[in-house]
């Protein structure tokens, strides 16, 4: 708990205040406020349709909020587009269609280096370094769409890492992974945080994994913040239990 409380004292990198997104008459996210602090792994969980992916789209600039405000690195990014936000260092992955399936693994990673690195030699070096980190170094010439599912997930993370993020937003990165693959992915996330110094915002359905790796967890339900706290606090929260398992009869 000591280490955790120290982490919570880190500088606020991302702040959302009163975030709201409506689709016609449907409110996908409502009055959602949170802070992401430097060096932490923050989990964002909730049942299907809770508004997790919409929240990702809002903070990464892929979708503007209906109301509320967002700031990243002390700059207001509420009305900024995805290109601007990603250039500031907030990089996201995607739940579906998370890679360039008709291009090679190497090209997928090189594309992600294009904006930051201007020389081809530097891009190639970054590509090889990232591929090694994510276990893709033996698959560089393989078409991304032909990779096994587990490696496709790794590739989507490699693409994000090659863009040199300050904050990495992972959208259900463990979906479809088998037991050993989940363990390896969690080790990778821990290494990304501890050795690369990258702060992580994680949307994930695998509760065991979320409880193991996250410092804090936010629980969304019907677009609203239901609970927030450490994994222990959240796992014992009666509202969270009811949201996931339903009311006792």
């Amino acid at each position: 708990m000591e280490a955790l409380s120290n982490k919570n004292k880190g500088k606020v990198l991302l702040r959302a205040e009163g975030l709201e997104r409506k689709f016609g008459g449907l409110t996908a996210v409502a009055d959602f406020s949170f802070e992401l602090r430097e060096g932490e792994i923050l989990g964002l969980i909730g049942p299907n349709g809770a508004g997790k992916s919409t929240t990702f789209n809002l903070i990464s600039g892929f979708m503007p909020p209906t109301s509320g405000s967002l700031s990243f690195l002390d700059q207001n990014i509420t009305s900024k587009n995805a290109t601007h936000i990603s250039r500031m260092g907030l990089i996201r992955t995607f739940q579906h269609e998370s890679l360039l399936s008709e291009m090679s693994v190497a090209d997928n990673i090189i594309i992600a280096t294009t904006h930051r690195l201007k020389s081809q030699a530097a891009r190639l070096e970054k590509m090889q370094e990232t591929a090694k980190l994510t276990g893709l170094e033996d698959h560089l010439e393989v078409m991304a769409g032909s990779l096994p599912h587990g490696l496709q997930r790794m590739l989507s993370i490699a693409i994000a890492l090659a863009a040199e993020p300050k904050v990495l937003c992972l959208d259900e990165p463990l979906t479809g992974l088998q037991g050993a693959e989940v363990g390896a992915a969690l080790d990778l996330f821990e290494m990304i945080r501890s050795e690369l110094g990258i702060t992580i915002l994680l949307v994930e359905h695998n509760m065991r994994a979320v409880m193991r790796i996250c410092d804090r967890i936010l629980v969304l339900n019907h677009g609203r913040l239901l609970a927030a706290g450490t994994p222990e606090e959240v796992s014992q929260n009666q509202l969270v239990i009811e949201a996931y398992l339903g009311h006792k009869k």
Binding site: A82, R92, E97, L100, I111, T114, H115, A160
Partner: protein, 311 residues
Amino acid sequence: MLKDNLGLTLCILIALASIGFALFSGDPYYVQVVIWVFTNAVLAVTLRFVLLIGELNIATAAFFGIGAYTTAVASTIMDWTFFASLLAAPVIAGIISALFGWITLRTKGPYFLLISFAFTEIVRLFYTKTEALGGNSGMIGMFPPMALNDYFPAIAVTILAAILFGLYAAERSNLGRVFKAIQNNEDIPRSVGLNVIGLKILCFVIASATVGLAGGVHAYTNSVIAPADFTYFVAVLALAYVKIGGEGHIAGPIIGATILTLAGQFLHSFGPYENIFYGAIIIGALLLVPGGIVGLGARFKTGKFMGRAER
């Protein structure tokens, strides 16, 4: 890599042979056919270049025409020199395409296709309604300077070949890789800090400026241009060259343009039935060789020589 180098060497040899033929052949008709082949190859390759970002650009025909009319106006009305009037073509086509792309490339797929089709027709109607541009009759009198007259066919082929090699180099560069990434899934480049709209506009401007230059060469080659030369049908034929030759490699549209342009010369002898044969060749090729001619190698390897047409 070795295969690519061999292919590139072969292409350079063909280009040099064509320039030599244009210089030394005594038969103006065959020289004209060589220039037509190269012009159609540029039309097809520029159409395919915008396909790299996933958009079918009917306005290829419009920018070909804008280049031709720019050179014609610069040459006959403003009395600009030969090279200045040629250079004006890609500059004006590039500027107009930047503005057009900035407005329209926020749309995709069928929407962009329809807008580019409408733009092509609007530009053509503008020529027909503008007396200063000769109206329906078009413009006449674009001649290279006397000193260059004998060399003009070789100059034309050199410029057109240079456009083809330039577009090949652009596609092989990191920029070409980014264009393909945008076609594949534009959310990924956007998520790693690339300005997708800006890159789409850049791709569009490169294609439009180069096809504009080809239009300028066309104005000097024919000496006469008219609105009917720049209808949407020019882009439809360019698409046929791409599909018959194959979309997978830049050589595809060049091969397609060569075959169909040469077939077109032969089919002239069928008089009013020409277009029926022409259409039959296109339909037959699309049904029997779905990946185009450059896709045949891959189909032989997989043992699927004949197959259903791909979308």
